[in-house]
């Protein structure tokens, strides 16, 4: 058994002004999980070490933490592959205030979940005598998002949240998808309109951290893409994100290539004078340096093939 250094973030608000790291040495048993390592350290070396855990079987989500800079579930992860130069560095979840050591305040996370109304809102008028049923095919659309265990690993590593604490965040968006795509819910369009507002689904940077850190099949980025596709199909277009997509659809569908002059204007709105004026400095700057996109946009060769593909789906959209 090799001995490894566990470099663990420590912070006790009653004793420490700022956080610090404390090293513990532990011999790794073959196949031992990270959570069991932490338990051994707590039981055998330092009872003051604080971290959250409960089920130990990747169901409760409470033992999420950052290891070597990325979030994971301690109970689900073997320790050996995490060793880098003899060290495993463990930090509390990111994008959260630290209560003590590896325990963080998750109230903002739960507030974001509550924001998307995570409960079924069926049509009260239909008053069924039996429970509302779904076919297996209908359930498949929400199968992935129902696997979310609310561990907040995605929240911790979300790049958009790092610069905007008001962003609703990936877990809440995955939860929103679960109800938007539930055939028993009657508030689909209202949900799509609410989630399309500022700091909602269009504020995601598409960086993919959430899906990469997600320990289940919830994979929030995929669910975010599904919400956006649903919003576009439902005609929820009165926001910059949806207009941006429309600009893509229009220019790529017409020329095969993106028109980089048109799309920004389309995104902010043709008559949004302050936003258009805000685009001017970068436009002038790029024009002076001859870095501007061509004033007359190019088309690809054989563009008619691309137009036919788009037309086919436009017809389907109308049906």
């Amino acid at each position: 058994m090799s001995t490894v250094t566990f470099r663990i973030f420590r912070f006790d608000p009653e004793r420490d002004a700022t956080g610090r790291y404390q090293d513990y040495q532990l011999a790794l048993e073959p196949g031992i999980t990270l959570l069991n390592c932490l338990n051994k350290i707590k039981w055998e070396q330092d009872a003051t070490l604080t971290f959250r855990m409960s089920c130990g079987s990747a169901i409760c989500g409470s033992c999420a933490m950052r290891v070597n800079g990325h979030s994971l579930l301690a109970c689900k992860t073997q320790a050996s592959p995490l060793v880098k130069d003899g060290v495993i560095q463990i930090d509390p979840l990111g994008n959260a205030n630290i209560i003590r050591d590896l325990a963080v305040d998750l109230e903002p996370f739960w507030a974001s979940i509550r924001k998307v109304k995570p409960w079924l809102m069926p049509d009260s008028a239909d008053n069924p005598e039996k429970e509302r049923l779904q076919t297996p095919e209908q359930y498949l659309k929400i199968d992935n998002s129902t696997t979310c265990i609310m561990c907040a690993a995605c929240w911790s590593d979300c790049n958009a949240l790092e610069v905007n604490k008001k962003f609703v965040g990936p877990a809440a968006l995955a939860k929103a998808q679960r109800f938007i795509h539930d055939t028993r819910d009657a508030k689909r369009v209202e949900r799509l309109e609410e989630i399309s507002e500022a700091n909602g689904v269009w504020n995601c940077t598409h960086c993919g951290e959430c899906s990469t850190r997600c320990p289940t099949e919830a994979k929030p980025l995929g669910r975010i893409e599904e919400i956006r596709e649903a919003a576009m199909a439902a005609g929820v277009h009165d926001n910059n994100g949806a207009r941006h997509v429309l600009g893509f659809r229009e220019t790529v569908g017409k020329r095969g290539l993106l028109d980089e002059n048109y799309v920004p204007v389309r995104s902010v709105g043709f008559f949004n004078i302050p936003a258009l004026l805000d685009l001017l400095p970068v436009g002038i700057r790029m024009f002076i340096r001859r870095k501007n996109p061509p004033v007359i946009p190019h088309s690809i060769e054989k563009v008619e093939e691309v137009r036919k593909i788009f037309s086919r789906f436009e017809e389907l959209r109308k049906e």
Binding site: N203, E209, V245, F248, D278, K291
Partner: protein
């Protein structure tokens, strides 16, 4: 070596210096490029948010063009590369979806994607197929003394299942190329973060703050310049750098080069040949 060059939209628009850098580097390396002038936009992860089937059909059409040419595709944008790999993997893993896409493709364009095309980004071609030792043998102007901070761009790394990087949580592919060119790679925490470009039109403040964090991180780590395989990251960090500086107390003055430009410099290309003069933030003359 011969590749079907997929330029994407930016290298034909707001990032023409990327195309210049690619041709300058590849001509010196002896890599033949046949530009795919009839390939459409990859969708940049945006078209799929309108209709994922359209995006897959567009990309399958592009792959069929390369198959017809009998050449692997070389991308010069990691967003294109990430979107292409995701689409290609999803088609390969879902034969029913592939059949449906091909049905539309055949009916509308007479084409068919057979699932055989290889897709690689320029930097992957250098590493995996050209080889760093051969690259080193072609260097005429080693970038000795230049401290270069790599910025990977999200689509190169995440989600992991679509990444071609050996260790997408801690990649070193770009650092290997920087070292081979004679420069010194600079590591910094933000090198694997998002530049913010995808939300530029939705939330400019957040978008520029993400770029500000990356630029500041690279500067604090002592970088002379940054290099990226993604022209969208370049646009946010270069074209908007004056706005970013306006939000801060300090001047950043951090040039952000495309990876083919950096390679071309070491191979003897002049700054004018790779259109360095079009950058909003130009590298200091003594550097290049």
């Amino acid at each position: 070596m011969k590749y079907a060059l997929y330029t994407g939209c930016v290298a034909k628009g707001a990032g023409r210096e990327l195309l210049a850098g690619t041709y300058a580097a590849c001509s010196r390396l002896g890599i033949d490029l046949v530009e795919m002038t009839d390939a459409a936009c990859c969708g940049a992860g945006v078209i799929s948010e309108d209709n994922h089937f359209v995006a897959d059909a567009l990309n399958a059409r592009t792959y069929s063009l390369a198959e017809q040419m009998g050449l692997p595709i070389m991308n010069i944008c990691t967003t294109c590369q990430g979107v292409h790999r995701k689409c290609q993997i999803n088609l390969a893993n879902n034969p029913a979806h592939m059949a449906e896409v091909n049905k539309v493709l055949k009916e509308e364009t007479g084409r068919e994607y057979k699932g055989t095309v290889k897709i690689r980004h320029f930097y992957e071609v250098l590493l995996e197929e050209y080889g760093l030792e051969k690259l080193k043998s072609k260097i005429v102007k080693p970038l000795t003394g230049m401290k270069v901070a790599a910025f990977y761009g999200c689509y190169a790394m995440r989600p992991h299942e679509y990444s071609d990087l050996a260790n997408p949580d801690d990649p070193d592919e770009l650092e290997k190329i920087i070292t081979a060119l004679g420069a010194t790679p600079v590591r910094y925490d933000e090198r694997l973060k998002c530049c913010g470009f995808p939300i530029l039109m939705m939330n400019k403040s957040d978008s520029l703050q993400l770029s500000a964090n990356a630029l500041t991180g690279a500067k604090k780590a002592g970088a002379d310049l940054m290099v990226t395989p993604c022209p969208l990251c370049h646009l946010n960090m270069d074209a908007y750098q004056p706005e970013i500086e306006g939000r801060m107390d300090e001047k950043l003055r951090m040039p952000v080069l495309h990876i083919p430009q950096l390679v071309a410099l070491a191979l003897g290309a002049t700054p004018a040949e790779i259109r360095l003069q079009t950058h909003i933030v130009r590298p200091k003359k003594e550097l290049v």
